[in-house]
Each structure stands twice: as C-alpha cells, then as structure tokens.
C-alpha cells in the first residue's frame, strides 16, 4: 500500500497507539480528581502539554481540544465575542478550510462583515490586499499557514507583521490567527509570532478527535466550550487523556529531525512530479512549482502536497483505478469528495471545470521513499493513458 492521502489523515505512529493503550488501561483516572489516580492522570496530562508546547513558540499556552475544526471555531468565535465592542469585521482568505469559512458564514448572520482576501493562480494571497483591507473596526485576521488542497505556504509572517504594525499605528488590538493544521510537522512553528495557532493530531500521525489551540500569553479571548473549568477554563470537558497523551507524543516524534525529513519529502515530491510530467503530456500543476521548507518561503509549496490536473480525465476515476493497486490519493480535498461540485480552492485559483475535474492531490508522509514513487508513476501513467484513450463524453 502506498498511502498518498496524508493531508486527509495519517496512520498513527505505533508508539502513539501503544501509549494511548497504556494510558487507557492504566491511567484511567480523571485529572481533576484529588486521589492518587487523578494525580497520576494529571501528570500524564502535564507531560503531554509540555511535549506539545515544545513544538510551539515560547510564551504561550497550549489548550487541548477536539481538533482543527474546534481550534478554528474557538479562535474566531471567542475573539469576536470578546471584542464585540471593538468592531464587527473579520479578515480571512478565500481558500481557508471550511472550519474557518463556515464559521465566518455564521458570523455574517450575526452582523459581522467578512473580508475574504483573493488568491493568485497559485492560491497565494497578496500582502497588499491585507494592508488595504485592515480597518480600525477589524477584530481578527485569520490566514492559513499551508493550503490543504495545493500546499501553498501563505505569507503568514508578513501578514502578522502588517497586523502588528497597524495595531501600533492605530492603537487597535486586532488578533492574528493561523490555521496550521497542514503546516504542523512540515514547517517549524517555533518562531511563529501569531496570537493563536490551531493544529490537529491526526494530520501528523497522532490520534483523531484531538488537537490543540496555542494562545500567546496576554491574548484576550474567552472559552468556546464552557463547563467544568478544565484547561484553565479555556476548554471545559474532562480531558481525552489517551488522546492527549497520544497527541503529545506525536508532536514530539513528528517534529524530531524536521529539517531532514522535509528535505527528503521534498525530494520524493519532486521525483513524483518530474516523473509524471515527463511521462505524460497535458498535466497541469496546481499550486506553486517551487517547494519551500519554512514560513519564510511564502508563495512556495509545502513538500507535503502535490496537486496535479490530468487533463482529459476525471480525478475520481483515476482515484478508483489506482486504489486497485493499493495507491490512495484524493481529488481536491477529502472533506469535499462526498459533495458534488468543484473544489472552491481550485476555482479561486482560476482553474476551469475541466481542469478541476482531472485534479488529483498526492500528499506525503515522512516514511515514503523515491523508490515507492516509481510504482506510483507507473500506475498513474497507465491509468491516465487508458482513460484518455477512452474518455468519457462529458
């Protein structure tokens, strides 16, 4: 099996699974309980938090939650609620994950104005657009770190600087959030000066249903989920201890030796891309050609993703064809493949219906090798040739 759908989800590290099993079996206490079992559990929680925090910028706090969607929801809704007297304007991008865009839709119904920054043909926003979109009644700016469909590294650092400068100039307190779900374990987050960062465990070989929101110290937001006061009152609900422990370990493991891993992943990514482009005509690259390894490489492509349109085919058919050879990919974004209609990200990049229809996203993990890609190149090439010959009439 060659699993090239790692942007949808990943296989848990065996060590993570083992740790979660151990915690579920042996440390089942409630971290809030006063007795010894509770104390042990709170130690597991503390260790997981420390492990996670080491992968984030210093000077902030980690709040565990149920994943990327909750993190994004919390960031936007809590910021808006806390700053409702400051203004009713949100700035984000046209290519965010639905966890941002759908919340924005709801906030619009509550009277908010949402400004979605457009993207160029590589899904990258333009920092000048942000500059001119900022107003004194803006409460939050949310820009994703890496686009989930095409892998574009957005200019998060520059955007953060622009917001900061605007705040200093106008005495505003606009918050800056980034959805780093696709960036974590690909780019080093430690130098990131954002106010809030959301990540999701299952995108980096951690468990599903658990994630974290990083909040820089001094950032003034309230809770989204209320109740028994867990997570310093920021996210109530008895902690998902096996999940949180698994997340902590997955953070540590996936970020160890990050630079080397990314260099290798970029090599594998390039090898697949060059292989397919040299074997097949009429293949269109979706997203930036050049790969980048850090947040400073804005406008380049994260090595985790390769999105290609095989003109004259249908992505869905290719997907089902190569799955028979044990190769798993996705068309556009997995969160969308059960809905009909074109990917809004590719549409925002100016792709036509025909181009979108033939789009396949390959997304990698740290274990894959150049040798694996030979098989993929072979099978994809065969499938594309077969169906180009046959076609379908529409």
């Amino acid at each position: 099996m060659i699993y090239l759908d790692n942007s949808s989800t990943t296989r848990q590290y065996d060590e993570v699974t083992q740790l979660m099993y151990d915690v579920a079996m042996n440390t089942f206490g409630n971290p809030s309980s006063l007795h010894a079992l509770g104390y042990e559990a709170s130690n597991v929680l503390k260790e997981a938090r420390e492990r996670t925090a080491r992968c984030f910028p210093a000077g902030g706090e980690i709040f565990f939650n149920s994943g990327g969607t909750e993190g994004d929801n919390t960031a936007l809704v809590s910021a808006c609620r806390k700053m409702k007297r400051r203004g009713k304007r949100i700035i984000t991008t046209a290519v965010e994950h639905p966890a941002i865009l759908e919340v924005c839709k709801q906030l619009v119904q509550d009277g908010y104005i949402v400004e979605k920054l457009p993207v160029d043909s590589t899904a990258c926003i333009c920092t000048d657009d942000l500059r001119s979109a900022l107003t004194e009644d803006t409460v939050i700016v949310s820009v994703m770190s890496v686009n989930n469909e095409v892998g574009t590294i957005e200019p998060v650092l520059a955007c953060n600087d622009i917001v900061r400068a605007f705040n200093e100039q106008h005495g505003t307190g606009i918050l800056f959030h980034t959805d780093a779900v696709q960036a974590f374990s690909k780019l080093d987050l430690r130098g990131l000066p954002c106010d809030m960062i959301s990540v999701s465990g299952h995108k980096f070989h951690g468990p599903k249903g658990v994630g974290a929101l990083y909040v820089k110290r001094g950032t003034n937001i309230g809770p989204f989920v209320n109740g028994g006061g867990q997570e310093s009152g920021m996210r109530s609900g008895t902690e998902n201890l096996p999940g949180v422990a698994g997340l902590g370990l997955a953070c540590e493991m996936s970020c160890a030796g990050l630079e080397d891993k990314m260099r290798r992943m970029a090599e594998v990514n390039d090898y697949l891309r060059n292989g397919l482009l040299s074997e097949l005509p009429d293949v269109l690259m979706n997203g930036p050609e050049e790969q980048g390894l850090t947040y400073a490489d804005a406008g380049k492509r994260c090595p985790g993703v390769l999105n290609l349109s095989f003109l004259g085919t249908r992505g869905e058919v290719l997907l089902h064809t190569i799955e028979q050879d044990g190769i798993y990919v996705s068309t556009g974004s997995a969160c969308h493949s059960h809905k009909t209609g074109d990917s809004y990200v590719l549409t925002a990049m100016g792709r036509t219906h025909k181009e979108i229809e033939g789009a396949i996203r390959f997304s990698f993990n740290e274990f894959q090798t150049v040798q694996d890609m030979d098989f993929v190149i072979d099978k994809v090439t065969q499938a594309v040739r077969r169906f180009r010959k046959l076609g379908s009439f529409r």
């Binding site: 869905e316 058919v317 997907l319 089902h320 010959k389 046959l390 009439f393």
Partner: protein
C-alpha cells in the same frame, strides 16, 4: 383458547383480492396466512388463523410495530386493532362502552357514531337496531359524548359474527396485492435510481418473488454507489424478505462500445447488453421474466423506439410496471415505500458514466445492429455473466 389470549392484542386482517379468488382461494389464503406469520416471527407468541373470511391475529405487540408489520404484508387490504366479545346484546354494549370510554380518556373526543354489521343473519337483532342499542348504551355510559352521524370524531364498528363479535375503530390500509410467492420469480435490473426499486416493489406486490441484478462500472463508479444499491435492496427486503443480488461490472463492455461504436448510440447499446446479460442470469437462476423501471419517454433510452430496440435482444418477457406512470407519481411511491431518500444520493451509476452529448432518441434497429456487429457480443456477454458476484441482502 389458551390462557394468555386475553393479554394479547387482537387484529382483524382483511385481504383484498385474495377474497375474489374462486377455486384457488384456499391456496392464496394459506400463503397469506404464512406471510403474515412470517412477518410476525419477531414476536414469540404470534398466532394467526382464518375465521369466517377474516384473518384474526393475536400477538403481544412488544414494540408497537405489529400493526405496521401486518399492513406491510402484500395481500393485506387493511388491518384493525380490535376487541372480541360475546354475542349477547348486553355484553356487546358493555364492551363497546368500555372501548369508547378508553378513547374518550385518551383522546378527549366529543362525538361518535356506531356502525354495526351483522354478518350472521341468524342473529336476531338487525344491524340498524344493533347500532341504536349500542349507541344508546354509550350515551348513557360516557356522558360527555354526543352522536354525530355526519362528521363524528370517532366511528365505532360492531361486527357480529357466528362465533363472536368484534369491536374496532380504525382500518389501517395495507398495500393490497397478492401474497408474495404466488406469482413466479422475476429479475429486476436495479440501477440505484428512483424508478427500479419502485418497479421491483410493484411486481412483488403482485406476488412475484424478486431477485436483482446490478451493473456497475468500477472504477468509473465508486464502492459507495454499489453500497447505495445494496441499501435500497435492504429496504425492499423489509417487504419481501431476503433478496438475492447479482453484481456485474459492465466497464469492459462499455469500453468496447466506446471505442468501436458511434457515440450517440452508446447508451442504447449498453442497455441492450444489460438486457442480454440479465436474461442469461435469469435463465440460470430460474427467473421467468425481467423487470425494469423504464418509464415511457423519460430519457432517450426509454422512448418507444428505443424500447423496441432494447426488447429485440431478449426472448423473455420484460415487465415494465412503471411504463405509463408520471415521474412525480413514481417519486411519491418511492417516498411511500421508503426508497426515495436513498435513491437521490448523488453517486454516479453506470448509466451516467458514458453519457453521450446527444443520444439518439429514435434509433433504427438496422443501424444499431450494424454498430453492434463491430463487437463480439456473445463473448462479451458470457464474460460478464461469468464474472458475476452474488450477495444476499437480508432485511434490517
């Protein structure tokens, strides 16, 4: 009568057309009785028997679904929850009063009307008199009630028979039709759309045992599309028991057609292959006819001319129960039998994969046969039949 009979609920089941049968009536009655018992197998204590032209069912309705289960049996015209009492007028009145009082307490009705029937003409009181006597007793017993013969809140039926009297109120409609298994075996071409499940249902309702054949075009269609068809069969199995489903990948044939035949004839050529393959499957599995959900003029492959061309390839009769129905009525029927919401899930089926831009609507047999001569029809059909997968779909 055993001891716990009184704790069980009593249902009067009326059959529709079975009652019209002549010499064969005992046969149909026996099968219907079996089907009703089969539908109630989930209850440990169900009993059913024929008595004076009525089917009496006694069962402890532990999940509140007994009546629905009975009404869903093909051949059942209507079902009524009833109480049984003796043939003495005082006894009948007393039972009727208690029955009404219960309804008054539960529903707060204000008006009623009694409709009595004397199936046993040797009973000395005539029907209008029974109604009057029972009505008077109820008025005296339930002070809040008034008689309203035009628009009563509740109509109470009193049915005096040779051995007992039955008191009941509602008649829950069944589907009618004939008991399953009294009318041969048919093979439905099941696509996953709205029509074919309805067609299968309608034939089963006339007593036909149903098997299904499904064509897919994996990898042009997905596993979810196939799952959808299995789910549809599962809904149907709720009415007709386990359905055997034959699954065949049509893509090798579609590829040959696309590469060798004119584009505008694709759909029709594919239909002809489906019919041929279905006939082979039917013959091998003792099905005597094919069933399709075709509806005259609905799409290009279902015009009169197209149907003539598709029919030409099979010897077996092809049943098209929806042929003269309007789409909107088919959709209503699909909602009624509970297949509609599944049918509209947006997965590709094999009919939509190689859809020509402008399909022929008035095909000529001669042209179609000429196009087909580019293909090795027999070999393709045999290969398809040999590749079939069998799945038995059991009711939920």
């Amino acid at each position: 009568m055993d001891n716990n009979t009184n704790n069980k609920n009593l249902y009067i089941v009326r059959c529709g057309e079975v009652a019209l049968k002549g010499m064969n009536k005992p046969y149909f009655e026996r099968i219907l009785l079996e089907r009703v018992k089969g539908a109630l197998r989930v209850y440990q204590d169900a009993e059913a028997k024929w008595k004076e032209g009525l089917m009496l069912v006694r069962v402890t309705d532990s999940d509140g679904k007994a009546i629905r289960r009975i009404a869903n049996v093909f051949g059942v015209a209507s079902v009524s929850p009833a109480v049984e009492t003796g043939r003495d007028m005082d006894e009948i009145s007393q039972a009727a009063c208690e029955y009404m009082m219960d309804i008054v307490n539960r529903e707060g009705i204000k008006t009623f009307k009694v409709k009595a029937k004397r199936a046993d003409k040797s009973f000395l009181v005539e029907s209008p008199d029974i109604s009057r006597i029972v009505g008077a007793a109820i008025l005296k017993y339930c002070k809040v009630l008034k008689v309203d013969v035009h628009k009563p809140d509740c109509e109470l039926y009193v049915d005096v028979r040779r051995e007992a009297t039955y008191i009941f109120r509602d008649k829950i409609k069944g589907f009618g039709g004939l008991p399953l298994g009294t009318n041969g075996r048919g093979l439905i071409l099941m696509s996953g759309g709205i029509d074919s499940p309805v067609a299968a249902f309608m034939m089963a309702k006339r007593g036909m045992t149903i098997e299904a054949v499904h064509f897919h075009s994996y990898p042009y269609t997905s596993q979810r599309a196939r799952q959808k068809v299995e789910d549809l069969c599962r809904v149907l199995a709720g009415y007709m028991g386990t359905i055997r489903m034959y699954i065949i990948n049509l893509l090798p044939i579609q590829e040959q057609i696309v590469m060798n035949c004119p584009e505008d004839e694709t759909t029709l050529l594919v239909r002809r292959f489906m019919m041929r393959i279905a006939e082979q499957v039917a013959v091998r599995n003792n099905c005597m006819m094919l069933i399709t959900g075709e509806d005259l003029g609905q799409v290009a492959s279902q015009t009169a001319e197209a149907l003539v061309v598709t029919d030409k390839v099979v010897d077996m009769p092809v049943m098209r129960p929806l042929i003269a129905m309007d789409k909107i009525d088919i959709m209503d029927k699909a909602r009624e039998i509970g297949t509609y919401d599944l049918s509209i899930l947006p997965y590709e089926d094999c009919c939509t994969v190689f859809l020509p831009k402008h399909p022929v609507t008035k095909p000529k047999l001669r042209n179609i046969e000429r196009s087909e001569s580019a293909l090795d029809v027999e070999a393709l059909v045999n290969a398809a039949v040999d590749s079939l997968e069998v799945v038995d779909i059991t009711p939920q």
